[in-house]
């Protein structure tokens, strides 16, 4: 290292599936962080090799936004998220400074292998195309370019490959390559862009500080002969996305959760006596089958379920009350309602501040905001509608909701002043030196349903039958 004094430099590093290769890359250029590994519970790190360099671990999707707003000088993330941000907000103060050549993938607009979409595109059909995606801005730009006459975009938290053809015409999603897309039983309609891991920077930071030491380190990787972080990647396990038996009119559609609610939901479904095939850790299918012939099941993200029930794609779903309320606060007249409280998956939704904030209730925090001590109050949360309503109801004079995709604890105290977050034991919050100043409500898993489905003659009895099976299961000890 040269003798130049290192300016304080803030680096945002990805959690999750990018972590291992990113860690390998940093170690290879002599910038490894002791705690940057997948087992870590410490999200805040200081570099041993470069004094002044600190790093925090965020969900990779949040990294371009956090770099753009100036909370970090540099970040490492997949370039698709940068592209998504710049498509939505072209003036964002963030730019890509280098490709790292791992996590190479493509973003496709795709439809089910069995669909004949091209004919409908050509005839300029007036029916609304349904597009599900984690990339609403990229999807919308593609829809403009394709001159789709009428379309609806459903921003999703994930598992978007599961929707076509029954619940969407297109999914805009990231896959390793076209073969991977086809193995999901999808075919390409349009390749939107490529993606790979990259280093991004805040353009204001680059214009006003000397980061040459760090940039030279980054650049040194290009001339290395051996690039272990780019080594052949293992094929990712793809969830079985084959079509189930064709569903019929009058069938009841039930959505079940993937992710960490899956095990609890699976255990509960066993109690109902409904026999499922393809909904277990070792055999997960997007469309599990059951021993009830009029029941069609799909496995999607619990966060996406309320809207998917509201728009009629599903009649019933098992999700958390937190996500139901977030939906109802956005759409107060939605036809979705809680049918059965299933009791498991208890958490409470809380308002959290750093221990150093001199407030122990939302009232005293409101006074601090009103007195101009914290203006604006930045609130990081996954629950944007719950947070927005809460802050409105509590008359917080000036606040900003910062949407995040998880790992919210790490935002305090530098990148936000408050969190609206779920917690079971409060231990994670305490470990991050945070304190709870209010409990908004308690949430458990519940069966939600579309009230309009209950008015349909062909569906009413079947739905009531399922509801009673679920009620009995709740009462079984």
């Amino acid at each position: 290292m040269s003798g130049k004094a290192m300016v304080e430099t803030r680096l945002a590093l990805p959690k999750g599936q990018m972590l291992n290769r990113t860690s390998l890359f940093l170690t290879s250029i002599g910038l490894g962080f002791d705690n940057y590994n997948s087992g870590t519970r410490i999200y805040r790190m200081r570099s041993q090799a470069m004094p002044g360099l600190t790093a925090k671990m965020l969900n990779e999707r949040d990294i371009p936004v956090q770099v753009a707003v100036g909370n970090y000088d540099f970040g490492i993330c997949n370039s698709d998220w940068l592209q998504e941000l710049l498509t939505r907000y072209p003036a964002s103060r963030v730019l890509k400074i280098a490709d790292l050549g791992y996590d190479i993938s493509d973003i496709y607009m795709a439809c089910a292998t069995s669909s004949d979409i091209s004919a409908r595109v050509k005839t300029g059909s007036t029916a609304a195309w349904r597009i599900v995606t984690e990339y609403p801005a990229l999807a919308e730009a593609a829809a403009y370019k394709m001159r789709l006459k009428r379309y609806r975009i459903f921003p999703c938290w994930g598992s978007t490959e599961a929707y076509p053809p029954e619940n969407a015409d297109f999914s805009v999603l990231r896959v390793r390559n076209e073969d991977a897309l086809r193995s999901l039983n999808l075919k390409p309609v349009r390749r939107i862009c490529g993606s790979n891991a990259c280093i991004i920077a805040n353009s204001n930071s680059l214009q006003s500080n000397d980061f040459s030491n760090l940039l030279e380190r980054f650049a040194s990787s290009a001339s290395m002969k051996n690039k272990p972080w780019q080594a052949q990647e293992k094929a990712v396990f793809a969830v079985n996305n084959n079509l189930a038996r064709s569903s019929r009119a009058g069938d009841i559609w039930l959505a079940l959760a993937d992710g960490h609610q899956q095990a609890h939901t699976e255990a509960f479904m066993q109690k109902t006596g409904i026999k499922l095939e393809g909904y277990s850790k070792n055999d997960l299918r997007r469309r599990p089958s059951s021993d009830i012939d009029w029941l069609s099941i799909k496995v999607i993200r619990p966060q996406d379920m309320p809207q998917q029930v509201a728009n009629g794609n599903f009649d019933l779903a098992i999700t958390g009350r937190d996500w139901l309320l977030d939906h109802l606060y956005q759409f107060p007249s939605s036809p979705v309602a809680e049918m059965v409280n299933l009791g498991f998956g208890w958490v409470r939704i809380v308002a959290v501040v750093s221990e150093s904030v001199p407030a122990d209730s939302i009232g005293s925090l409101r006074n601090l905001v009103a007195a101009g001590k914290i203006v604006p109050l930045r609130v990081a949360t996954e629950y944007i509608n719950i947070a927005d309503k809460y802050l409105r109801d509590k008359h917080i004079a000036r606040y900003r909701v910062i949407p995040t995709w998880g790992a919210t604890e790490v935002y305090l105290p530098e990148d936000a002043e408050m969190l609206i977050e779920n917690t079971e034991t409060g231990q994670t919050l305490a470990r991050h030196k945070l304190k709870i100043i209010d409990t908004l409500f308690e949430s458990t898993a519940c069966l939600i349903g579309n009230r309009r489905s209950l008015e349909e003659r062909g569906k009413k009895d079947k739905i009531n039958k399922l509801i009673s099976l679920f009620r009995e299961a709740v009462n079984k000890k």
Partner: protein
């Protein structure tokens, strides 16, 4: 003090509003005199009205304000109206389509994001739609009306520039590009990037040559179009479009309307199908319009030919001369020097009597009014008025309200 106003939003102050109304009145009067009737469409529309092929360009769609309404769980977003013509076309096709001809005008705000926040994100337009028209006579009618309005607004030396979306689109068609390249080229051209033609890889070199010539030249008469038509590489399709253009210019020649032909004078002409025009004053674009024969069909109606234009009020109000001088001439400030109830009553009565004869009577009990030619003060003794002419610096006494009006009316020729 930090402004609480949204970035890109604008407050219209009394002076701004006076100019605004002055321009709007000129527009409205002309429209009414030509048989056009006013409509007003909602601020919110469904976004699909604007995403249909041939309505807004992808770049314009990328700047709309759209969101899910409180009952938008079905995913259909609404948008703050980004354009005036498309909602008017929807209104027509849903309500007035049985009329053979509909002459409509509107004054409306439109919303589009602008990055720096220095330009207005909410802009005002006043526009005219002639729906279900009679061919070239309608093109000539809207141009003549637009020029009359420009004059009535008090705009100096309006200049008319013509182009033709049908010719440009037919020529692009002749390049025989594949779907994606054609869409990309059109997107570039719609954004005003005429250089994009240079980068086109087409076997049809002669068409490229014809387009290059078209872009370079600026015509002054119908003769220019005759020359174009006679050029090699101009196909039958393109000739038909040139003919339709020439039919309008011939009519304008006969009407002695002066114009220039500049194919590059238009932008964002996605929904235009034929003649396009632009009016400038002092180099500023103040109005643009043209023919959009497919639009009614695209928003769900029958195939009805249509043409129209819109004036850009933000630009126009910035360059017209205000009439506020004339307003001051007609303004009387009425004050009461004492505090008795009787003198207040007299002041109110005097002001009401002046308003009746068309004066602007402003009550001035606290002092501080400016910009009035006349001041009338009512003293505590009943029926004692002092009339001051602030321009001529004269002062006269009057015993009755009638005498006051005589003094002001006698001097003021502006009173109706």
């Amino acid at each position: 003090m930090e402004s609480q106003r949204c970035k890109g939003a604008r407050d219209l102050l009394p002076d701004d509003m006076e100019r605004f109304r002055q321009v709007e009145d000129a527009f409205r009067n002309s429209c009414l005199n030509w048989g056009y009737r006013e409509i007003r469409t909602p601020t919110l529309e469904y976004i699909h009205l604007f995403t249909a092929a041939g309505t807004l360009t992808p770049a314009m769609l990328g700047r709309v304000y759209s969101f899910l309404d409180w009952d938008g769980w079905g995913g259909e977003r609404v948008v703050l109206r980004p354009d005036g013509t498309i909602p008017a076309a929807r209104l027509y096709s849903e309500n007035l389509a049985d009329q053979k001809i509909a002459r409509l005008y509107y004054i409306t705000n439109v919303f589009a994001f602008e990055e720096t926040g220095r330009e207005n994100r909410e802009k005002w337009q006043c526009g005219v739609e002639l729906l279900g028209d009679c061919g070239r006579a309608s093109d000539a009618e809207v141009i003549a009306l637009a020029l009359e309005i420009a004059g009535a607004m008090g705009l100096a030396k309006p200049e008319l520039k013509l182009s033709h979306a049908g010719i440009l689109k037919a020529l692009i068609g002749e390049l025989r590009l594949d779907g994606d390249s054609k869409a990309a080229l059109l997107d570039d051209i719609l954004e005003g990037n005429w250089q994009a033609f240079a980068g086109v890889k087409s076997k049809n070199k002669e068409v490229i040559q014809a387009i290059t010539t078209l872009i370079k030249l600026k015509g002054k008469s119908s003769g220019f179009l005759a020359n174009l038509k006679a050029m090699p590489a101009v196909s039958k399709n393109v000739r038909a479009e040139i003919d339709s253009f020439a039919a309008v210019t011939a009519l304008l020649d006969t009407m002695q309307v002066s114009y220039s032909i500049d194919f590059t004078s238009i932008r964002g002409f996605e929904y235009y199908t034929g003649l396009c025009f632009k009016i400038t004053s002092g180099g500023e674009r103040i109005c643009s319009g043209g023919r959009y024969d497919n639009l009614i069909g695209l928003v769900g109606g029958k195939d009805i030919p249509a043409c129209g234009f819109a004036f850009y009020l933000d630009t126009v109000t910035a360059i017209v001369k205000p009439w506020s001088q004339q307003k001051a001439e007609k303004t009387v400030s009425v004050k009461s020097t004492g505090g008795s109830a009787a003198s207040f009553k007299t002041a109110f009565e005097a002001a009401a009597a002046m308003r009746k004869i068309g004066l602007i009577a402003e009550l001035d009990f606290c002092g501080g009014q400016l910009q009035a030619r006349w001041s009338v003060s009512v003293s505590t003794r009943p029926a004692a008025f002092t009339v001051i002419d602030n321009y001529k610096k004269t002062r006269r006494k009057a015993a009755t309200i009638g005498e006051v009006i005589n003094i002001i009316g006698g001097f003021n020729k502006l009173v109706r």
